[in-house]
Symmetry: D2
Subunit: 345 residues, 4 copies
Amino acid sequence: MTVVTMKRSASIKDIGAVLRTVESLGFTPHVQHEDGATRIGLIGEGSPDQIRQLLSLPGVAGLEPVATPYKLGSRNFRKAGTEVYVGDIPFGGEEVVVIAGPCAVESREQMMITARAVAGSGGLILRGGAFKPRTSPYSFRGLGREGLEILAETRKETGCPVVTEVLTPADAELVAQYADMLQIGARNMQNYSLLEAVGRIRKPVLLKRGLMATIEEFLLAAEYILAAGNPNIILCERGVRGFEQYTRNALDIAAVPLLKKLSHLPVIVDPSHATGRRDLVIPVALAAVAAGADGLIVEVHHDPDHAMSDGAQSLNLEQFDDMMSRLIPLSKAVDRRIRPTSQQN
Amino acid sequence: MTVVTMKRSASIKDIGAVLRTVESLGFTPHVQHEDGATRIGLIGEGSPDQIRQLLSLPGVAGLEPVATPYKLGSRNFRKAGTEVYVGDIPFGGEEVVVIAGPCAVESREQMMITARAVAGSGGLILRGGAFKPRTSPYSFRGLGREGLEILAETRKETGCPVVTEVLTPADAELVAQYADMLQIGARNMQNYSLLEAVGRIRKPVLLKRGLMATIEEFLLAAEYILAAGNPNIILCERGVRGFEQYTRNALDIAAVPLLKKLSHLPVIVDPSHATGRRDLVIPVALAAVAAGADGLIVEVHHDPDHAMSDGAQSLNLEQFDDMMSRLIPLSKAVDRRIRPTSQQN
Amino acid sequence: MTVVTMKRSASIKDIGAVLRTVESLGFTPHVQHEDGATRIGLIGEGSPDQIRQLLSLPGVAGLEPVATPYKLGSRNFRKAGTEVYVGDIPFGGEEVVVIAGPCAVESREQMMITARAVAGSGGLILRGGAFKPRTSPYSFRGLGREGLEILAETRKETGCPVVTEVLTPADAELVAQYADMLQIGARNMQNYSLLEAVGRIRKPVLLKRGLMATIEEFLLAAEYILAAGNPNIILCERGVRGFEQYTRNALDIAAVPLLKKLSHLPVIVDPSHATGRRDLVIPVALAAVAAGADGLIVEVHHDPDHAMSDGAQSLNLEQFDDMMSRLIPLSKAVDRRIRPTSQQN
Amino acid sequence: MTVVTMKRSASIKDIGAVLRTVESLGFTPHVQHEDGATRIGLIGEGSPDQIRQLLSLPGVAGLEPVATPYKLGSRNFRKAGTEVYVGDIPFGGEEVVVIAGPCAVESREQMMITARAVAGSGGLILRGGAFKPRTSPYSFRGLGREGLEILAETRKETGCPVVTEVLTPADAELVAQYADMLQIGARNMQNYSLLEAVGRIRKPVLLKRGLMATIEEFLLAAEYILAAGNPNIILCERGVRGFEQYTRNALDIAAVPLLKKLSHLPVIVDPSHATGRRDLVIPVALAAVAAGADGLIVEVHHDPDHAMSDGAQSLNLEQFDDMMSRLIPLSKAVDRRIRPTSQQN
């Protein structure tokens, strides 16, 4: 990919002329404003030879190549971190944002109890699965549309935005009607038609790293969404498969600073799936924020022993509150902050 | 899952009565004929307590539990190996079946040259990707429908059935119109809506093991297809991700006898993706057959150095012919056989 | 293993009688004092049937089984955390202890420059390899005895204890003459004669987790040292081998709280080997302390670009000072502390 | 490493002059005779600049660099395969050599029963552990010297050479007094002082690949032995650690042809440790030979259910005989052969 960098003095007319030329050369332009100047990424099969003619257009400062395999997601395309808003909540800024809720939406009552407790302890966004990807076809696969409706009600009640998983392109529009952020699960990280479907929708996307994905493959999966036109992506490290049997997965903690360095996208961590064990969630959550994570997504259940899925790795409400209390000083120690709950204001 | 075993003397009427009762109890029956007797697997959320009443129905010999997480695919449900036919070519019998062709369909000419050579050397089925899953959105993604048409022409010309990959549920019907077998690639092994889509179509499915899937997860992916009603599945071991950098993946050779033991489904091996290196394909192919594989799927290109994808792991036509020659005595040494080419007849 | 728990009121004579009986039954007793009471672990091939007779001895409160495969290292044997002293520096207490220095001792001058800077920035213990395990027989393997002498001089000059690696049982005594703590490297985690050699010496041992060791195998390696009579072990998580190529190893951050839960031994982290990249060392070091690590071991070089080994992962002196500054508030946020440097006092 | 290639016409005097010059330049020469000509590998820290002067010596044909990290073990140093003799049994030639016996020497009787059966079925070399590396210090660690004596008696009785493991440099001489081949186990693949100890002894060494070793690390471990002066090395692929739980390890079948390509050393496979399951040993053994292995090492026990270690992966005597019968036609199919037993002659 080549980036056309515009002068700060470039007029809107100049930019428009560049965009038209770029398109006439067979490229799709991706426009980025940063630090008072415009940068235009050229994606597509246009002829590289003809790109140099852009240099003669008014307002063009220069051309920069982006040599990494991922282009629009690269720090070489955008130097500053991107802030992604879910409702009015920004990921990628000073705040450490905590998403919490049960693995699966099980009932209206369950969601309300959990949601109120999560919000009361400082969780800003609710999670809950309506469509559940399950290893076995015979396991509980979620309440589907009814689950989505419960999530919408819960949002109304608590004011918290909701995130939920979408499993297949055919459901993307439906899920987007209810959710504030669409989750792509680890199993679907390389489900390209699904990535393109959420790329076209432009709601924020929570993209989980695949169980076996390299950092480069992860950023290339994000690139599918970016290339389809959706810049609102939050990357989520959730553990990769390893050989250790005492934990469910192996959290790649170094991926947090590495992703922040290679990409401008926000990065959060899922300590629940990473460990699979309730007793390890809090220390791993603290570690994630210390390593520079922009947020966390944590499984919480009001009665984990009777959860329909993932009970072993769900915090109960008290443990979640404990985690939030500990995150406050920890975040401060790394120059970040947890938004105070209304009671604490 | 419980299996209702019928007596050999059971009449069609007896079997019909059992099926009706099973359905009235809330189960979907899956019927298997084996060794002169009928076995009915009960899938669904019916009450286990009521199953015992089936024992009093005429023709019922007994009830057997299947305790493994995979049910319809288990050797405990079906003791004999299943033979899956692609056209008139059986997988899972005495023959070792070789599928071969290029990674991607690139042009009519390329497919014809390769197809004739493959068929001439003893390959029975042609492969070629029309829809290609690519790690980067900017890589060549296949010719799409045009690729399917080229595959259909190639089949007409050579008489060989064709297998090609389907990437998303929306394309399943389209691909099924052209292909004799639908391939589910490694990245999509846990794309459940896709598994269910090919499960409803009932054409043979070539299911590749995910890069990071355990044997149990692999069999549970097959179970999605079986539970959707399609018993024609061929399992394909194609290497899992490891730490070695000299090879692309790590072929799990022990998976071949293990899958044959745990499941009644045919098992084939893809030595091309497993190694990623042309110079290792032949010894690994021989090893696969020695370990008990029912077949192979191998990438072949008439000009690998100019292939649009996977050239490094593609055999050229001469090497493919060499591989086939070596497979003949090897197969015989393990009491299997390679179908002779017409010239050899 | 069975643990004989003594009453708090048990006299020294009572304890002596139990020890004599235990030995007469064919066991080696391992004595632990905790919370005012004595606990005696019975290791050996004595007859389990005869253990019950100990219950009748004066002062014996009861018998407790330790069912984990690791015995003396288990939290079930010792409930409180063990503090291991290196010189007067305690691991496993409130303090977070930082060990730092170059990968290899290269010269007297190099060690002195680095050592003064490390001590000045708050590092408490010096590291430096005199005997280096190298993948290739043709790489620099350390200065050997001369390196040990330089380490001893450096200690004299700075007052900081030193830790260095021992590679083979034959060198254990020699290394112990110079070093305050003996390091067992990852490659030697299952070099059992070496483990037993350092077990007999009783100087503190820094035991690094093997590249491919499970948590259980790691604790069983420690058990070799414990069973040989040396209770002074510090466990070090330093990353395991994974599939990611952007980093050298994969730090198993969850291992920190997990080891602290399963064992009473102190746990530290090596962020240098875990990542292999200087730019990731600081965030990973912060994460380790947030997760509960009792300390860190970090590679520091005054001129990393010219280091004879591991330059790419060594912090320079300024970066080390930056890391120490950041560790102070981070440690405080998790109720730990970094010992102030003399200047800061 | 640079290789000095001598002309075929070079005299012994010419060669002697080159060797003296090489040593005077600070190199250790490693001499190889191949195809009628002499090749001299230069190992050491001599000045590369001075090497060119060798070109002017009589009989010198040229200089060749060996660019791989492993030098003496590389196919670039020696183009033809090396044959390593254990007693009069050659590894690396036309024959497929089977080593078999119990995991551990348990008693004289056990060894004799097993040894006679192994020899009767076509096994050429006996294995049996006298010093056993065990994950736990509390497991059975072998009979030690008594075990060595039993092995020697068994050899006397059956005429079969014996191989047994050496765990620590201090035992290398002792083990070498009894055994015909010294085994370095997977845990010790990077125990460099042990590698150098067996390198100095010059008895054949069976070097097992580490659980987590790359191919390059494996060849560099062999290089330690070669550089110490012992050219008699047999490489053994025995499975690496993976994520699959149904098998003990993951056999890297592609390593067989890869090692044969990169190195001139013989390569054998251990299907017992690779799978950990008796029911998978035979198909994996067949696969290994099909892939080009020069031999196998297989655990066999006359009563596996009562074996003191590794019973689950040991073949019983009948199964071993079955394996040998199947290896005969398989070996023939890949142009190798199994030596007929005396009865079969």
